[in-house]
Symmetry: C2
């Protein structure tokens, strides 16, 4: 059995015994073959000594058990790493950031506590996946949509806490932004309810986010100040219809007015669906073709959507040479035949088809198995897109080692708040030599982007320190503020040390 760092075998055995007492023998995992299940299948250090691995895992099924587990960890100073369902693939999976941590696996806490159709919200536990929530809503015949991310097997809470996004309408596709109210177990084992949840007998915990006084919810986004055990989410009442307008512009430099028109429409909330920029102007697009395209889904009443499409066309039509295509007006709920030919996540239905992306096919007979996602945030202007592409073209020969490292992208995704993410995907697998070259390239992209004012919104665990370091304004004052808070609310530094670059005092490098 592996030991957590700086924990004696005797203390660890006492902690294990206490956890077994709290959650039952069956839910404390110490055997190598059990603990191995928590390895990050996409780890860029797979099989190397730097791979981040757990020493054990414990899976409570109630909030009271989470409290007991955390209190024991505090008593013996054992680092925990909380996961919801552990599906944060491409960004770290279920493996801890700090090797030797005990995974606090919340998958058994999988209750949908409430779905409220009239006020369009859900209150869930961390083990509830998008599939679970969808199934619950479907069985309850509630006329509301969820907003699934690409793969639907992950945790609704976990995805929100990692800053993930989905594919239906704004504002629901900003998963952290669409949450409303939390229950959190702090490092001292105390339960806190945020927002209106702090008011006993409150009937508006999932109605009003803010409550009274300082709003602490943000601390738990990409954070390690507590273990979130319940979280509310605003849901979208099923929109009657959806239609997608595709705009094509002929010249690469047309991306500037294209993005300007897109901004106007999205910032007015006329276009509410999410999209990516595509086309020959992007290095990842069809070779040779110039220009750009963008596909804009619009959700709303069947009589409103066509008017929104028409208004949108007028705005884009000011770009010389712009051409348009429209899908049919899809009316919801979709029938089975229609459902079979659309992208399910765009209609609020969780799915796993995204895993076909890097799968085995004729063009890719030997897929590497995993990938690391590189996700820098760009200001949403055409100029940013062109600048990114210039840098990418200039640096790619060096960073792909003359084309021998296959990096996918960039895909310019416009669905993050009012920014874009210029997504690159770095395939990784089981070959340490290739993985090492991919890691070097990844680190170099972080630096190159930081020099240009672009920082990542999320990154694989092994690069979280690198990215956090790039957010260095005033000698890392934001990081230092986070550390001050960390040391105050988790003085023994037992909760997810190192997550998103926030380390407790005893583990900080000077």
């Amino acid at each position: 059995m592996a030991l957590p760092p700086n924990v004696s075998s005797a203390d660890f055995n006492r902690a294990i015994a206490a956890w077994k007492q709290a959650v039952g023998n069956d839910w404390v995992f110490t055997a190598d073959e059990d603990v191995a299940l928590y390895r990050d299948a996409y780890s860029p250090y797979w099989g190397e000594k730097e791979e981040r691995v757990a020493s054990a895992a414990v899976a409570p099924s109630t909030v009271e058990q989470v409290q007991a587990v955390v209190r024991t960890a505090n008593q013996y100073k054992v680092p925990l790493y909380a996961i919801s369902t552990g599906r944060n693939l491409a960004y770290g999976g279920s493996a801890p950031v700090y090797s030797g941590s005990v995974v606090l696996d919340l998958k058994r806490m999988n209750r949908v506590i409430e779905v409220n159709e009239r006020n369009a919200y859900a209150l869930v536990e961390p083990g509830v996946s998008y599939f679970d929530l969808y199934e619950h809503i479907t069985k309850a015949n509630a006329d509301v949509w969820i907003d699934p991310p690409d793969p639907g097997w992950g945790s609704v809470i976990g995805n929100a806490l990692d800053g993930g996004g989905g594919w239906t309408a704004s504002p629901f596709r900003d998963h952290f932004g669409a949450h409303c109210g939390m229950e959190v177990v702090l490092a001292n084992g105390e339960i806190v309810r945020t927002g209106m949840g702090a008011l006993p007998n409150s009937k508006s915990w999932q109605h009003n986010r803010w409550g009274f006084g300082p709003w602490v919810d943000g601390l738990f986004r990409q954070g390690n100040y507590g273990v979130v055990t319940k979280m509310g989410f605003h849901l979208m009442p099923r929109p009657e219809a959806m239609q997608t307008l595709t705009v094509r512009v002929p010249r690469d430099e047309d991306v500037v007015p294209l993005v300007d028109a897109l901004n106007l429409l999205e910032n007015q909330h006329v276009v509410n669906g999410s999209t990516s920029l595509g086309g020959g102007g992007a290095p990842g697009g069809p070779a040779g073709a110039a220009g750009w395209s963008v596909s804009l889904p619009i959700y709303g009443p069947a009589k409103v959507v066509p008017a929104q499409i028409e208004y949108s066309r007028e705005k884009f039509a000011k770009i010389p040479g712009a051409t348009f295509t429209e899908t049919e007006l899809f009316r919801t709920p979709l029938d089975a035949a229609t459902l079979a030919r659309v992208r399910k996540v765009s209609f609020g239905i969780p799915d796993l088809s995204t895993f076909g992306l890097l799968g085995r096919n004729a063009a890719n007979p030997s897929p590497p198995g995993g990938h690391m996602d590189f996700s820098p945030i760009l200001a949403r202007t055409g100029e940013s897109v062109l600048e990114f592409i210039r840098m990418y073209r200039e640096k790619l020969p060096e960073l792909s080692e003359g084309g021998t490292l296959r990096i996918l992208g960039p895909v310019f995704m416009t669905n993050w708040d009012r920014t874009m993410v210029a997504l690159l995907m770095f395939p990784v697998g089981r070959d340490p030599q290739v993985n090492g070259r991919m890691r070097n390239a990844f680190r170099r992209w972080i630096e190159l982007c930081a020099e240009r004012g672009w920082g990542e919104y999320r990154t694989p665990s092994v690069f979280q320190d690198d990215v956090a370091k790039a957010y260095s304004y005033n000698n890392h004052s934001l990081t230092r503020l986070r550390e001050t808070i960390k040391d105050a609310v988790d003085p023994n530094g037992i909760l997810s040390p190192g997550r998103y670059g926030v380390w407790p005092k005893h583990l900080r490098k000077t």
Copy 2:
């Protein structure tokens, strides 16, 4: 000259001297007649010993000066109370929560640092009022709207930090929710930039709210963890048109389906304007008349709004007896004649006409001068409205002392997140005897509402402890978490002690 509590005359003189050095002699106020200007004109303790008053005031004009002022305060342990423009009337004005604090007056920091039309945002300093920002935008010919609250003379930052709201479209009218990026001076004098602002050379500080890692912005909402010196806000690109649909339903109990339909439309973002429930069903409405009405402004393209109105009518038409009226379709920008007959704030134009509300008129020949606003958050259901009215009718005879205390309202405002605020206004003036009765009644409403699961979103300074205490889940665990953070980031407790119920260690009652 008054002294702050627990500060020696010698130390206070040293602090005053240091501040004069930092900001100039003219901007440190110690004379009684100067300090009196910071009294809360609406104080319910006016002229009594419990009135919250400042000992002095200091008005820096740059971030560096704010740093110097805060460092000096830390050195001599002088409590500061930061205000932007000090217009938080009905909720405490410019007076400190902790009597004897020195007001840190940020009115001179009144630069509009950037207005970006293409990406529809502004970056401002705390002294910038809604009038200032409007004027700047108008002069720059930028085609974006601001979202003014009732009176436009207050600070854009101050209103957001106090959790205020405005009167145009969602999501812009949630002023804290619509912010994007902050610069904050901490108690130790360090500057922190949040979100993408932590990345040197970032071009997306006002584009993306979240950045990388734990999100600390929420701590500064209704908080006292730092002094906000810059803040970004998403703006709405000018909508082409606005039209208001008014729905009337005949029976008091129709408020249930009325609010259900409203929820559906607002949660689908078909109706995006803000509104209040009115009519004979509300005790404050026209005597005798039964039923309810609601007026729904819809902002958007001229060809889209009529379709949204039509869809909305269909939803409300399911309520038997529902009747409708519509305004004309207002096209923006409004001409002068139109502007003269509309409510300006609904068209993004700051205004002061709200002060007519409690002013001298035929019906109210002797206005008391000020008022305290009581703002409990209700779940947005018709049942909540009916329950509130039942309670109000049952308790009013006692709490109005048989009708001798004139309390205004309730007004059911639906523009707070997904909740309602059942606003009551308690007039106060210069008669300590009447003020005392009003205070007693106010405290009793806080208790009555808390018993029923309703808590305030904001309250006058003198009641902030009472309201914070009502948010008591798990032996006040949320308050204790906030206190732990307070003690860590402001160990001397110098920043706005007591604001929204958060006190530093040395001032906490056990």
